[in-house]
Structures are given as C-alpha cells and as structure tokens.
C-alpha cells in the first residue's frame, strides 16, 4: 500500500516538475541533471497525451477546421508516427550524444525530449477545443496558438539539450545536425529491413508452396 502511495506521490511531483520546467527551463533541467528530479512515469504519461492529442486532431477538431477524411483515419498509423517517431528521435539523439562524449544520461535525454513535447501538446489541445467554438474569421489566431506552442517547444528542446548534454553552443548545433542525420540513417535502415523481410517472407512462402505442390 505504501508503495502505491509513493508511486502516486512521485508521479504527482513529476508532473508538477514538468510545468515548473515549462516556465523555468534552466532551473528545471539543472534539477533533472544534478538532483535527479522528474520522473519517467510522468514522461510516459506525456507521451500518451501527445499521442492522444494527435488522434484528437483528426477526430475532435471542429468541422470548419477539420480537413481529414474520416474514412482515412487510422489510429495505429497515428501511433506509429507519434510514438515511433519519438523513439527514432530519442535513439538518434542518444547515439549522437554518445559519439560526442556528452554527459547526458539515457534517462535525462528521455525526460528532456518528453518535456519538449509539452508546450506544443497543450497548445494543440487548446486549439482543438477552440476550433469547436470558432469560425473562419478567427482562424489566424488559432494558427498563431499552434505556432506559439511549436516555438515554445523548440525553445525548451534547445535549452534542455544544452543542459543535459553539457555542450557548448557550437557542439549543441553539431549534435542537432548529427541527430537529424541519424534519423535519416535509421529510417533508411528500417526501410531496408522492411523490404528484406518482405523478400524473405516471399521466399519462404514460395518454398513452402513448392514443397506442398510436389508432395
């Protein structure tokens, strides 16, 4: 019972720390790095909300602003794009950090990347809510909301990377560039693996058919 209580307490503290970091990124990331604040559980919750906000984007956006064909909405593919995309960025950034002898730990990188999603997700949810009460005349303000969220997220990401990896500014830019290259390589490998597996499956199926027909 105590264990459950401490878990919830930790999660609560973690979530409070997320919002603290949104407004005080320098202090917040310092605490993550040196005082081991912030919780992985809270970050998983952020990822879940991020995924859900992307689903809501297509499902709950008001009719005037919703350009998605309801016949074409696929939750699994949204899951792949959001959570899978996050995983690729995370792995790539971790790899790029290791290459450059960063001081960032695995846990810190994960938490930083999750924290960076928060402003955009919050503004996106507000946007989705408001689209149900807005007409086209205020469309520009709603788009501005999304842009603010995006810029804020970008700011948090840069500050977080800077503190977690303990880079100079030049190294940080190089790290971001390497991360982008890493993402491209991972996608290429995934595509390669996908087509190879497809060929192997076809090969096995062909052999199976040959044997079955000849028996």
């Amino acid at each position: 019972m105590d264990k459950v209580k401490t878990f919830w307490k930790d999660a609560g503290a973690g979530i409070r720390h997320v919002f603290y970091t949104m407004f005080h990124p320098v202090n917040g990331f310092d605490q993550i790095k040196w005082e081991k604040k912030g919780s992985v559980a809270a970050c998983c919750l952020i990822l879940l909300v991020f995924f859900l906000s992307n689903v809501f984007d297509q499902v709950l956006t008001g009719f005037i602003f919703n350009t998605f064909n309801p016949d074409r909405i696929s939750v699994p593919s949204i899951f792949l794009i959001t959570i899978g995309g996050f995983a690729i960025v995370y792995v790539s950034n971790w790899a790029a950090g290791s290459l450059m002898f960063s001081e960032g730990e695995n846990r810190d990188i994960f938490i930083t990347l999750c924290y960076a999603l928060v402003p955009y997700t919050i503004f996106d949810l507000i946007y989705i809510l408001l689209t149900n009460f807005a007409n086209l005349e205020v469309a520009a303000f709603l788009t501005a909301l999304l842009v603010i969220g995006f810029l804020w997220s970008g700011f948090i990401l840069v500050v977080g990377m800077y503190y977690v990896h303990q880079f100079t500014f030049g190294e940080l830019l190089l790290n971001l560039l390497l991360t982008a290259i890493g993402i491209a390589i991972i996608l290429f490998l995934l595509l390669l693996g996908y087509s190879l597996i497809q060929q192997i499956i076809t090969f096995v199926v062909t052999i199976y058919n040959e044997i079955v027909f000849r028996l």
């Binding site: 009719f63 005037i64 064909n69 007409n135 086209l136």
Partner: protein, 474 residues
Amino acid sequence: MRRVKTIAILILSILLLVPSLALAEDSEVPYQTYTYDRWGNPTPTPNAYLPNRSIGGAQLGCGNLNNAQDLFYSQALQEIYVVDSGNARILVLNPDFTLKREITELAGGYRLSNPQGIYVQDDGTMYICDMGNQQVVEADGQGNLVRILPTPESPLLPDNFNYLPIKVVVDDHGRIYILSRGIYQGLIYLEPDGTFIKFFGANEVEMTLMRSVQKLWKSILSDKAAASMQSFNPIEYSNLYMNDEGYIFATAAGSENGAKVLTQLNPLGINVLSWAGGSETLLYSDVVERNGIITLLDTNGGHLIQTTVQRERGNSMQITFGGIGQQRGLFQKPSSIAEINGNLYVLDAEKNTITEFVLTDFGREIREAITLYNQGQYVESIEPWKQVVRHNSNYLSGYTGLGKAYYQLGEYETAMYYFNLAGDRQNYSLAFKEQSLIVMRDAFPYVASALIVLVIGGLILGRILKKRKEVRHG
C-alpha cells in the same frame, strides 16, 4: 404430379424475370452518370439525361451526313442549323427535327466548300465559316449571299498566317469574333464592316517555377539557342459559344502550359470564370450555357459534363455522363452540342447522327433548383432541392442549396446541418457565426445576472468576514 411440377417451375422462372423487368429502364442506358463527393471521389448518381433517339440523314430524308461539324439552335427563329461539312451543305431543321430546307449554294452562285461553323443572328442573318474557301461569308435569311468578309490584314498577324476560319460568333452590335485554326493569339476580332481590330481573349499561360527558370535561361542564352527552346504559347481554342448576355464561352482541347480548358470572356476579352474547368485529359470541343448551367462536350472520353457558371469553393456542382462506344447514348467523335427546351442534342462527326438526350425527373429537378438558386431565390428552391437529395443523397450541391435557403430564412442550425452534409466549410462558418451570436444573446441575461449576484454576494461575504476578523481581534 408431373404437370404440377412443370407449372411450378414455369411460375418460378417467370418470377425470376421480375427483378430484371424492374431494372429494364436503367439497363437501357449504356453509361453510368456520376458526380463527385466532397473528397473528390467519383460517386454514381441517377441519370439526369436519357438517350431518347438518334437522328441521321435517313430520318431527315436528305441523305447521310458526312463529318458534320456544327449544330446551332436559334431560339428566336425556332430553327436548328446543322453544318454538314463533308457534303458542303447546311441543313435547316424545325425544332421537331424535320427538314425545313437545305442550303448547298448561296444565291448568287456561291458554293460552300467544307464549312465548319455557323452563327445565325435573330433576324436570320447567317455567318458561315467556309474553311475550304478560306473565308467567312454572310448570307441573309433566304440564303442570298450578302458579302464575303475579306481575309484579315494586319501587322499583328503572323507572317505565315493561314486563314482557316472554323467557328464564328457575332454580338448584338455586329462585331465579329472568328476562331481560325492554328492561331493561338486569340480570336480574330472584326469591326462590323470586316476590318481587323485586334486579337481577342487569348488563353492564359500560367507562370510556374519551371517556366520562370526557363525564361531566365532564355535571357542568358543567345537568340538562336533560345529559339530552339520550348516556347510558352497559349493553347488555341476549339469552339465558341455566345450566351444570351453576350458573354463568349470558349473551349480548349487540353490544357498544356496551364491554359484554361474553358473560359468565359467578357466584352473586354478577359476571362471571368472563377474555376479552371477541368483537368488536362479533357479535350473540350463544345459548350452551351443556359440559365447559368454549362454543358461541356469532351471529345476524348465522349463525356457530357454539366456544371454551373457560379461554383462554390470545394463544391463541384457537376454531373458527367456519356462515353465512347457504338450504342445509342455513346459517341465516336462528338463534335457539337445544342440545348433545345432543356433537352440536349449531340452531333457526332463519325456516327453522323444527332443523339437526343431527354431530361429525367431527377435532371428536371436539378435544373429547376439550380435555376432558382442562380437567381438568388434560395427559399423558393427548398422544395426542388429536397426532391433532388431525396433522389440522390450524394448530390452535394443540393445540400449547399438547402443550407443557403435556411441561412436566408434565419434558421442557422438547419443551415449548419446541410452545410455540414455538403462539406461546405465557408458557408458553415458563416451560419455558425450567426448561430453562436444568437446563443450568446439568449444566454446573456442569465450570465449577466449570475455575475451580478456573484459580485454582490462576494462583496457582502467579504464585509462579513472582515467584521468577524475585527471582532475576533478586536
């Protein structure tokens, strides 16, 4: 027993025929009429027109047609003109498609040679594009030659100008617009006395990034090298039609260089049609317009495409039917269309027939509704639109029409419902704005009084608490 069995089988097999009898009317039509849903996918729709009969030379009693190129209907004269190019003659028909007279030679000994187009003014004056003789001739209602329009002469004309007039229209003031084959600069625009003024209403060349880059290269390269590069000429027109208001509709066969396949030219020669009018695969060969409803003829797919002059964004009020084939209702090489009392007549240059398409109930309802809608009588168009969407719930324009009607009536919630069905975001937004204003106005007294109560209550509570504090610390 055996007899009973035989009878039973007989009855059963007759019963099997019943569904096919019910479908008999539909199966007579060799094509599927379709429209588009809000995502741009083709959706089947009930037939708006049915092929009724095909009229050939034999039915008219004047020998077979040969490569007939133009069909013209004069409402004022109640006469139909068929330009039978291969036989170098013009047939004048009554509206019930019986032969009235046949013009092979204009009085004065002028023989036509491969005529391609005709325009008849309300007083019966005929302008005939006599392509074989490379000139446009004017004749009066009795078929007497009035004059031969001289070949245009101007420094504006290209050096290798070959005058091949194929279509002509004449406005109320007698100004003549001639379409000459191979001239992409526009229509040849003549004064009533036949002198050349200018080229009129050339099709547009859209400036794309690719073309800007090529233009840059052309300015760098020598003149000789630049001349060998691809040139950006507007595409030439394929046919002309002048509507009752004097607008010229011009079609183009294909839309390379971003040219419009359909343009509506105002008296200044500027295109006033707000939409592009189709994709690159469409080779339009003719167009008619009546009451804001446009019917286009696509030679490539043998399709008749019916749409409207005014179109809402993201909402193509369109039905398409016809096709290539031998059956009645399909075409080999359709060359011209005419609209007579709501029915469509398509001239085929290879089948050498005129196919008559009559309106179905569905088509008639659409026309009625669109006509009212285009006149802005949205409220009156409610009933026809309801009939239309009852026949075909996929006909989105019906929902737009209903939405506009209810918007005008001030029933914004109903309007929103229909705009939603139509996928019409712009109009939905307008109705939504009005509706939310109403909701806010209705809620205002309650919200305001609640606020007042809260504020006063808060003030009183604050004072009481303050007093208690004072008493306690007192």
